[in-house]
Amino acid sequence: MSKKKLIVVHGMGQHDDASVRKEVTDAFTTAFGFYESLKGQSVADHVDIVPASYNSFFDDYRKKLKERAGTLAERLAALDPTVPFTVNAVQQINDVEAKLGQDEFFTTHWLDVLLYYLTLLCEPIRLHVAKTIADAVAEVGGPNVHVLGHSLGTAVLHDTLAKTFGPQNLPDANGIVLNLSPIEHRLGGVHMVANVSRALQTFVKVGSSIVRPGPLGCTSVFIEYRHKLDPIPKIRPFNPTNNGEWIPQDIFKTVYGLLESSSVTEANVHGLGHYLITPMCHLPLFRMLFGFRPKKQEQEDGEKKYFDLTVQSKAKALQTAFGDLQPTSEESLQAVLDAAKALKDMVLKFGEGF
């Protein structure tokens, strides 16, 4: 039987294919260690992790900005210092552009969100992810392909799937088919970890798109993973209701799930690795990806090993800070950035990386 593929679309920050693969593999390896029948086994023997990293699009733009600003700054400095305000203004704008090209936290994290949400860089990113998905489906078939988005990656993934399986499932004037079929190429599962797709929705509302299970959707199952103390997905969360509107009521609980964990093993509860080592998150994934169905005792023993890793002090601090979080702004983009900054500050206080 073909190994299933898990396509991973990362969130904000500095990522590439190798780092994404490592983060997921490391988390799964840790999780394997909780269960006797999986301990010591290689993740790669069970599932094919396929990163769809898109950071290079942002990095290339930042690099061009830096180069351009550097050249301009050098020349402006050589101009007569008694310059009118226009030149001063240009110099200040140039300084800002130069800063945008540097490797500071704002530029390596928040700028990703801004560049994706506000600029046309979103389209080549979506095309890149779409090609990764299409190649995987062509190779092993839709049911053997699961896609996972994390944080900003949930918005990228949602938008990509909305266009990939979109309603115009017809050949264009040149006879080129511009869509995958939600029937013949239906995905095995869509997994949204720390889902911000609704907060960052643009050309289509997430509740109206084809990215759903059920007869009008493109996937067999749709699962959201949300940590109760992670402030970022609390901003305009996607909470479909069981009223027959999004998907039929008789299948709602079978093909859709919102898994909300609350245990804390590190301060950065937003991290993908933190989500994946939680049994509530990885057990359904393992079952769907490679048929892992532990007996009750093995599962309980595994969960106990996980809970031995939880850290009470960090959990308390996070509970205090984010337990009753309200969005800082009606503008969801601003609210996402504010929530992320607050979490980042807390994580750094604990000496962890974000």
Partner: protein, 343 residues
Amino acid sequence: MRAAIRHAVWIACLLATPAMGVFAADPPPPSATTLEAACTHAKIDTEVKTAFLPKMKEGAVEVRKSLCVEGATREQILAAFALFVDRLVEDKWFSPYGGFQGATDPLAGVQRALRTDGAPIPTIAVVTPPAGGDDVLEVAGSVFQPADVEQCNAKTDGRGCGPIFDEFSAYYTYAHNSFSSRGAQAFARSVAGLSKQWNDYLDSSRSMTPLELLINSALYKRDETRQFSPPPAVQYIVLHPSLVIENVSAAVGGEQLKEALMIEIGGMNWWQQDRWYLPTGGSIVAVYSDRPDIDEFGYGLALNFRSVYTIGYTRHGSKDGAFISFDLLKLVQDKKKILESYD
């Protein structure tokens, strides 16, 4: 039409079966002329961990053979696939494990689609209810639950019907992908084509300041649809600063040729224009330079070539000026060095 082909293949198989003997466990290697993506996985893993449906594996291999070895058309592969499905239904494949609730069969919908010309053929996936519970099969949004999980438990060491469904879905998908793969490949090709257009846009178009990126993006997104689309054909230039070398012949000695700050106030650039001798775009400009007895600000027009090189004309009060961009200056200098090296 599809039904007629199906019957013909059925008869051919019946006649051929005594001579063929036991079906091979693995299909022959793919044809050398076939580049089908699905054929990279032409070999089913021989280490089958479960063996609930051995006949199904053989049938799936036969369908895949028609793609990877015989190079059949979609219609021919569908006919082989229909045969495969019909056999499973006739054999009541899930009866040994208790059947499905409501005496249904997920393959019934597949058979209906196969009998309808042009209808897409659904996949079948195993779904684990996220909140817990028994595994089910999902077909295009319909869910099929086992009628008696205990019958499965007896065969799967208490693991429910999931392991059986896993095997079923794996073989079904293996056969199904024999024809569905082509559609996915066609989409992948069209996406690759669009990606190349976007890479060309990002590499070859005029560099954009954050302001220009925001403005061009807003215009692009204003017309955005649910389809993937190519990059915009035209870039709008707005308050774009750069440095130029300007010559104002009316200036006093030693001040004619000077560096100047140019701001392209507004303009347009058609970045795909690839004839080097034709401009890609132009803009209205303001140029600042400090020269005695010459107005500091001049206004004029600029023309861009290959989205990078700029030449233009300015008017400082009543005095004419001309300028080129540093990129163009560097290009000229580089060419000059090459020519001089031949002396």
